[in-house]
C-alpha cells in the first residue's frame, strides 16, 4: 500500500506496465511539442512580447512624455490630452495613480513604438476589448511595437491593484482609419 514501505525491497527493478510506459512517452512528447510551440511562435507568430527594457527614473520618463504631448497633442478628453504621434514613431505611455497619461490616437495598420513606465506604483496595462495585458513597473521603461489592425475606441484598464482608486483608472486609445 502507498502508506507502507514497498513490499519489494528492490522496487526499482519491478517492470513497468505497458499503459504507463505509453502514457509517459506521450506526455513527454506533448511537453516537447508545447515547449517548441513557444519557440516556433517567436520565429513565426505575430504576437510576441519585446524584451527591450531600460532603467529609467520617473523624472526622466515624464520629461519624454511631456515632450511628446507638447509636440503631438491634437485635442483633449475632459482635460486629458489626446496625442497623435506620427506613424512609426514613439508613443510614451505613463501610468500613475490613477490615470493613464496621455490618451493616444493611432492610424490603423501602422506600427508604433510604445514605451511604458510608471510614475509611482506598479500598474497593469489591459487593452480592452483586445485583451492584451502588460505589467508596468516604476523605474523601468518597456519598449515594444504595436500594430493596431482594427479601428475603434479602445480602453486601457488598470489590472494591477494600485490603491483605493484602482478601479477609476481608465485610459483611451483611439484607432482611426486615416
Amino acid at each position: 500500500m502507498a502508506i507502507a514501505p514497498p513490499a519489494d525491497r528492490m522496487w526499482w527493478r519491478t517492470p513497468v506496465a505497458r499503459p504507463e510506459i505509453i502514457w509517459i512517452v506521450v506526455s513527454f512528447l506533448w511537453g516537447l511539442v508545447m515547449f517548441f510551440t513557444m519557440i516556433y511562435w517567436h520565429a513565426y507568430g505575430k504576437q510576441n512580447l519585446s524584451n527591450e527594457t531600460y532603467r529609467t527614473t520617473p523624472m526622466k520618463y515624464s520629461a519624454k512624455v511631456d515632450e511628446m504631448v507638447g509636440k503631438f497633442q491634437v485635442r483633449d478628453d475632459n482635460g486629458i490630452p489626446v496625442v497623435r504621434p506620427p506613424a512609426g514613431g514613439d508613443v510614451y505611455m505613463l501610468a500613475r495613480t490613477w490615470m493613464w497619461y496621455p490618451h493616444i490616437e493611432l492610424v490603423k495598420g501602422q506600427s508604433y513604438k510604445f514605451h511604458f513606465s510608471s510614475l509611482d506604483l506598479q500598474h497593469g496595462f489591459s487593452l480592452q476589448p483586445v485583451n492584451v495585458n502588460l505589467q508596468v513597473h516604476p523605474g523601468y521603461e518597456h519598449v515594444l511595437t504595436f500594430t493596431p489592425d482594427e479601428s475603434g475606441e479602445y480602453s486601457v484598464v488598470c489590472n494591477e491593484f494600485c490603491g483605493l482608486g484602482h478601479h477609476l483608472m481608465l485610459g483611451k486609445i483611439y484607432v482611426v482609419e486615416k
Binding site: 502507498a2 519585446s50 505589467q135 521603461e141 489592425d149 484602482h166
Partner: protein, 574 residues
C-alpha cells in the same frame, strides 16, 4: 507493518515517548505527534473558516447585481482572503500532513516535540500579527504586497515570523525522518505517501526561504531603515514563495490522493518507480513555474521566460500527467480485484461515492486535472499569457488548483483524520456525505466562470467593472457580467460546502463519539483488500483509466491550441 522493539536506546534526558496502536490500521502512533497533528489541523480549519468568509465577501462584491462591500473594505478583505487561505490554511494543514506522513506512517516518535510546539507558536503568532495588521486597515496591499506599495511594518513582520516558524516545523519533519531511519522503525524505503510528503517539504523549504529573504528587506524598508527593494527583483523572489507555496499543495494533495485510495480501497500504486519518479520531477522542476507570474514583465529575457515557465520543457507537467493516470489506475485495479469488474466503468460506478473521503478525493483529482491543471499550462505559456495576465482568468485557474484541487483533497483527508487521529466518530455522517459534492460544484463553478470572464478581459482585484466613477466610460461585454454573476452563485455553493465541512469537523472534534484506543473503525469499503495489479503486469486491466486519460489528453490539446488561436487574433506586437 514491521514490528519494532518497544524500548529503543534514547537520549537519556528525554522521557520515554508514549505510543498507542491504531486498531483500524495497525499504525503505531506517537502521542506527542498526534497532539501536534491535531493542533495544526484545527488551527488550519479555523483559518479556512476566516479566510473562506472573506472569500465569500469578495465573490459577493464582484457579483455585479450584489456589489456588497464598499471599495476600501473590498480591497482590505481581498488582502485578508489571500493571506488566510493561500498561506495560513494551507500551510498549517500541510504541517499536520507532514507530521502524519513522517511520525505516524513510519511508526516513529516525532523528533523534538517541544521544538515542534515552538514552531506552531511562531506560525500562529505570525499569522495573527499579519491578520491584525490587515484588519487595522493600513496594509491593504493584496497578498502579493508588491513594492513600491507599502504595508504597515507588522504586515511583513508577521509573515516573516510565520515563515520562520514553518521552516522550523520542516526541520522537525526532516528530523523525524532521520529518527525513524536511525531507530529502524521501518524497513527499506519510506512509503509512497511519505515520499510525496518529502517532496512537499522540500518545495516548502525553497518557498519559505524565498519568502523570508525578500520580506526581511521589505520589512526594514517599511521601518525606514533601508531603501526600497527594487520592484522587479521583489516580484521575482516573492513569487519564489507565492507560487511555490501552491506547488507544496500539489505535492501534498497528490500524496493525499494516494493515501485515501490506499486506506479506502486498498489501492496500491501501479508502479512505485513511476510514481516516485513523478514526484522526483516535482522536486527538480515544479518550482520553476514561479515564472508564470513574470511572463509580461519588462526586463526578463524570453529565454528565461520560456525555460522557467515550461518547468524545463514541461518535465513537472509530465510528473502531474503521470499521477493523473496512476492514481485512477490504482483505484481501478483495486476495484476490479475487489470484484467490480463489469464493463469499462463498473469499477467507477461501484466506487464508494457515499464515503466523503473517497468522493472528495476523486472529485479533487478530476477537477485539478481538467480545470486547474490544463488552465495552468495554458496560462503559463509565454505568449498566451499576454491575453490572460492579471485578468480574472488567473484567480479562475488557481481556484481550480487550490480550491477544487488542494482544499477539496484536504477536506477529504480530514474525514479520515477525524476517526484515526482525533479518535472521534463523525457526528453528522449525512452532512459529511454530501459535503464534497456541494463544495465541488461551487469550487468547479467559480473556477470556470472566473476563467470565462477573464477570457472576456475582466480584471482581477477590481472593485467596479462598470467604471461608474471613472472619468471615461467603458463596459465589458454583457457576457462578462453574466459570468461574474454565475461566479457569485457558485461561490454560495462553495461557501455552503465550506460551512458544512467546518461545522461538522468542529462539532466532531468537540462532541463526536469517542473511539476507544483498541476499537477499530470501518474506513475501508467492505470488499477492499490490498491489491497491486489486476491482469498481468504487462497488461494490467485498467481500460477505464485509459479512456479517461485519452479524454483528458484530447481536452488538453484542444484547449491549448484554441488559446493560440485567440492569441493570433489580437493586435500584432513584437
Amino acid at each position: 507493518m514491521v514490528a519494532t522493539p518497544e524500548s529503543l536506546p534514547l537520549p537519556a534526558a528525554h522521557e520515554e515517548p508514549r505510543f498507542r496502536t491504531c486498531a483500524s490500521t495497525g499504525l503505531k502512533i506517537h502521542l506527542a505527534a498526534q497532539t501536534l497533528i491535531k493542533a495544526n489541523a484545527v488551527t488550519a480549519v479555523v483559518f479556512l473558516a476566516i479566510g473562506g468568509l472573506f472569500g465569500l465577501l469578495v465573490a459577493l462584491t464582484r457579483w455585479p447585481a450584489v456589489h456588497l462591500l464598499p471599495a476600501d473594505w473590498f480591497y482590505l478583505v481581498l488582502t485578508a482572503h489571500g493571506l488566510d487561505v493561500l498561506l495560513l490554511w494551507i500551510i498549517f494543514f500541510e504541517i499536520a500532513i507532514l507530521y502524519f506522513a513522517s511520525a505516524v506512517l513510519l511508526g516513529s516518535r516525532i523528533a523534538a516535540p517541544r521544538v515542534a510546539w515552538a514552531a506552531y507558536a511562531l506560525m500562529l503568532i505570525g499569522g495573527l500579527i499579519t491578520n491584525v495588521a490587515v484588519l487595522q486597515g493600513g496594509s491593504t496591499v493584496m497578498f502579493t504586497s508588491y513594492t513600491p506599495m507599502m504595508a504597515a511594518p507588522n504586515f511583513y513582520l508577521g509573515l516573516i515570523i510565520f515563515a520562520v516558524g514553518a521552516l522550523v516545523a520542516l526541520g522537525v519533519f526532516f528530523g523525524t525522518l532521520v529518527v525513524a531511519r536511525d531507530e529502524r522503525t521501518y524497513e527499506g524505503s519510506v512509503p509512497l505517501v511519505t515520499f510525496g510528503a518529502i517532496t512537499a517539504a522540500i518545495i516548502a523549504v525553497f518557498t519559505l526561504a524565498s519568502g523570508a529573504i525578500i520580506l526581511i528587506p521589505t520589512y526594514l524598508w517599511s521601518l525606514g531603515l533601508i531603501s526600497m527593494p527594487d520592484p522587479l527583483t521583489y516580484k521575482l523572489i516573492w513569487w519564489g514563495m507565492g507560487h511555490s507555496s501552491q506547488q507544496i499543495n500539489v505535492s501534498a494533495h497528490v500524496s493525499i490522493w494516494y493515501l485515501i485510495a490506499a486506506v479506502v480501497l486498498g489501492a496500491k500504486p501501479l508502479s512505485e518507480k513511476v510514481s516516485r519518479m513523478a514526484f522526483f520531477l516535482y522536486i527538480l522542476f515544479l518550482q520553476l513555474a514561479s515564472a508564470h507570474h513574470l511572463m509580461v514583465e519588462p526586463g526578463l529575457s524570453s529565454e528565461w521566460k520560456v525555460f522557467n515557465t515550461s518547468y524545463a520543457m514541461y518535465l513537472a507537467v509530465l510528473g502531474s500527467m503521470i499521477h493523473g493516470m496512476t492514481v485512477p489506475g490504482a483505484i481501478e485495479a483495486a476495484q476490479r480485484a475487489n470484484g467490480y469488474d463489469k464493463g469499462l466503468f463498473g469499477w467507477l460506478r461501484h466506487a464508494p461515492w457515499g464515503n466523503p473521503a473517497f468522493a472528495g478525493m476523486f472529485l479533487s483529482l478530476i477537477m485539478f486535472g481538467f480545470i486547474g491543471g490544463i488552465s495552468g499550462v495554458v496560462l503559463g505559456t509565454e505568449q498566451i499569457n499576454l491575453i490572460m495576465h492579471n485578468t480574472i482568468y488567473v484567480p479562475g485557474h488557481f481556484h481550480g488548483t487550490v480550491v477544487a484541487g488542494t482544499t477539496l483533497a484536504f477536506m477529504a483527508g480530514t474525514w479520515l483524520l477525524l476517526p484515526l487521529i482525533f479518535q472521534r466518530e463523525i457526528i453528522w455522517p449525512r452532512i459529511a456525505r454530501w459535503q464534497p459534492y456541494i463544495f465541488a460544484i461551487g469550487a468547479g463553478g467559480i473556477s470556470l466562470f472566473m476563467m470565462g470572464a477573464g477570457t472576456l478581459g475582466v480584471a482581477r482585484r477590481h472593485w467596479d467593472i462598470t467604471f461608474a466613477d471613472a472619468s471615461m466610460s467603458f463596459s465589458y461585454p454583457p457576457a462578462a457580467f453574466l459570468m461574474m454573476g454565475l461566479n457569485g452563485i457558485c461561490a454560495l455553493f462553495a461557501a455552503t460546502g465550506g460551512i458544512m465541512y467546518i461545522l461538522t469537523v468542529v462539532a466532531t472534534v468537540l462532541w463526536g463519539k469517542r473511539i476507544a484506543d483498541g476499537q477499530a473503525v470501518q474506513l475501508a469499503s467492505p470488499k477492499a483488500r490490498v491489491v497491486t495489479e489486476y491482469g498481468s503486469i504487462e497488461h494490467p486491466k485498467i481500460p477505464g483509466t485509459i479512456i479517461l486519460t485519452v479524454i483528458f489528453f484530447v481536452a488538453f490539446v484542444l484547449y491549448y491550441y484554441v488559446n493560440w488561436k485567440y492569441l493570433a487574433e489580437v493586435w500584432p506586437m513584437r
